[in-house]
Symmetry: C2
Subunit: 229 residues, 2 copies
């Protein structure tokens, strides 16, 4: 029997080990980035993951590859959460939006990178995840508007902003109390989304306004904004 | 004529120079802390302030003294803003709260330190400023409740949370667009504070719950939470 030790092509046992190592490294990277910033030493990440530094390098050849995967994992969670909300939106659009935002608050540890800053990940896959998130949120709002369940002037960007504000790690507040405060904040915000008596909002920026400085060839500011959530 | 070059005891000309230097150092410290964290090199702060490093040390003998003053300046702004809101609350409580939050968003550069984290400043003066902020916010809410202008279950802690969330520097979004997004968010939140049809909120933590881990003699976590805003 030939044993192949490559990360993804080995025996089932080796493939399971590789997948577990990879997940451990990514979880360790998220905690280290959150506490130390994106310059966190890679050997500290390996130590937190309980793996050898060589194992880390076998999964992620450099810091950029690790950062990119953490960002993509966060974007993927956001897309999935938005899609789930769209599924249930026809029954109760505001409840679907609330559940979506509170789920993101609960899973905010997955979203650490776009929220604390770091290099912009503007490859095709990341941009496609962001585009799908924005489109799905607009679909949810369209369902809500058709039922007159939401003020007419709220946009996908407002929901992205609220997710970003509520999910960003509050400095050094115990996690449970941070969740309680974020939950109350989101609940009040949701009551503010109701159409009855809502005062008109100031004009919104478009998503294109917000990302133009990030993605133009001339742009010098290559760092992410909360619009990446 | 005797010329006294001590920072605060000199001729009017020298005292004016000293006050200007001090303000320049504090503004430079805020920008450096925001961009580089509270470990920003003191010589970088002196460079940004356009003063000699010796001048910086004459005003602030060490990093802790500089951090403390930045925090106190931020807390003082918050207390003043809350007091101004209490003055106008009887005419229109929600408008007073909205104006207060939007003023803090506009002046968020003053609040950088409690919002990005850093050492807890729990000396008497800082605690007194925080106590006065919370008490003034409760006074504003009492005025609002007496007029049935606000949902009954919102607390001072919710207003502090909202100020903290809306004022924290969004990563790398241009300032003007960050202000637009924060303004829309605060406006929707304010509509959610109205009493009509508000769904009851989950139970709030008290301010004491939130700060107990910071100020007990046994506490090992000495870092600030957003409750310091």
């Amino acid at each position: 029997m030939t044993r192949n030790a490559s990360p993804d092509g080995g025996t089932p046992r080796l493939r399971a080990d590789a997948a577990r190592n990879r997940a451990q490294v990514l979880a360790a990277a998220r905690s280290a980035f959150r506490e130390l910033g994106t310059a966190a030493p890679l050997d500290e990440i390996a130590r937190r993951a309980g793996v050898n530094i060589a194992t880390l390098y076998r999964r992620f050849p450099d810091r950029d590859a690790l950062i990119r995967q953490v960002v993509l994992d966060g974007f993927t969670l956001v897309v999935q959460t938005a899609h789930d909300a769209l599924e249930t939106a026809p029954q109760d659009p505001l409840a679907a939006i609330e559940k979506m935002l509170l789920r993101l608050v609960d899973e905010r540890d997955m979203l650490v990178l776009p929220l604390i800053g770091g290099p912009v990940i503007d490859d095709t896959q990341a941009l496609e995840l962001q585009r799908r998130t924005a489109a799905t949120l607009e679909d949810i709002l369209a369902v809500a508007r058709a039922q007159d369940a939401v003020r007419p002037d709220v946009t996908a960007v407002d929901l992205i902003t609220t997710g970003a504000l509520a999910c960003r790690p509050l400095p050094h507040l115990p996690a449970e109390q941070a969740t309680t405060l974020a939950t109350r904040h989101v609940r009040i915000f949701l009551d503010g989304l109701r159409p009855d008596g809502a005062r008109p909002l100031p004009p919104p920026p478009t998503r294109e306004d917000l990302t133009a400085h990030l993605h133009t060839a001339e742009g010098t500011d290559r760092e992410p904004g909360p619009t990446q959530v």
